[in-house]
């Protein structure tokens, strides 16, 4: 990450604009044990109250890192009931990084956000249809399977 991903200006800009970046050595105490860190890099999206919202383990290139961070940002808002902000992050991810590993979960959660905002089930069904078309083998497509009936 230090030699390939973090030096990229696009990454620096994205992180500085959207996060407070914090680095902790995996052999220090007490946080690695508290967060049950077993391998590095482990990247965690935390709310300012310390609640975990998203985590990845292992190396990520530029596009995969930014898309994963957008997913974390969206989940941070989603889990705090800020559905408009969450949807904006998921849409940014899907518009800019629609083939990334984070895209299927973002597509699923965008549908849930749409439902949460309106209590209209159409966004859930739309999410299932988009997932089926774009990611037929994704676990998120399977999780959305019941929404086909809405």
């Amino acid at each position: 990450m230090d030699t390939v991903t973090y030096p990229e200006s696009k990454v620096v800009r994205f992180i500085e604009e959207n996060f407070i970046p914090l680095r902790i050595p995996s052999d220090s105490k007490p946080h690695p044990e508290k967060f049950n860190v077993k391998w590095t890099p482990t990247l965690v999206t935390l709310s300012p109250s310390g609640q975990e919202h998203h985590r990845t383990v292992g190396f990520l290139g530029v596009e995969e890192l930014i898309s994963s961070l957008l997913l974390g940002l969206g989940k941070y808002h989603f889990e705090n009931d800020r559905f408009d902000e969450a949807l904006a992050s998921f849409r940014q991810l899907l518009d800019g990084y629609g083939t990334s590993g984070s895209a299927p979960e973002a597509m699923f959660l965008a549908g849930v956000c749409g439902y949460k905002r309106s209590h209209d089930p159409k966004p859930l069904k739309a999410a299932y249809e988009k997932l089926t078309a774009a990611f037929p083998d994704s676990e998120w497509t399977k999780r959305a399977y019941p929404y086909r009936l809405l």
Partner: protein, 33 residues
């Protein structure tokens, strides 16, 4: 000049900055060796 990420190194300070800025924290557990 190459830009670099300005990492915080303390949890309490990072959480405090997050509260002030209204931003989440990106916590990177890294291998120092």
């Amino acid at each position: 000049m190459t830009a670099t990420i300005q990492w915080q190194t303390g949890m309490d300070e990072a959480l405090s900055l997050g509260k002030k800025a209204g931003k989440p924290i990106l916590l990177d557990f890294f291998n120092p060796n």
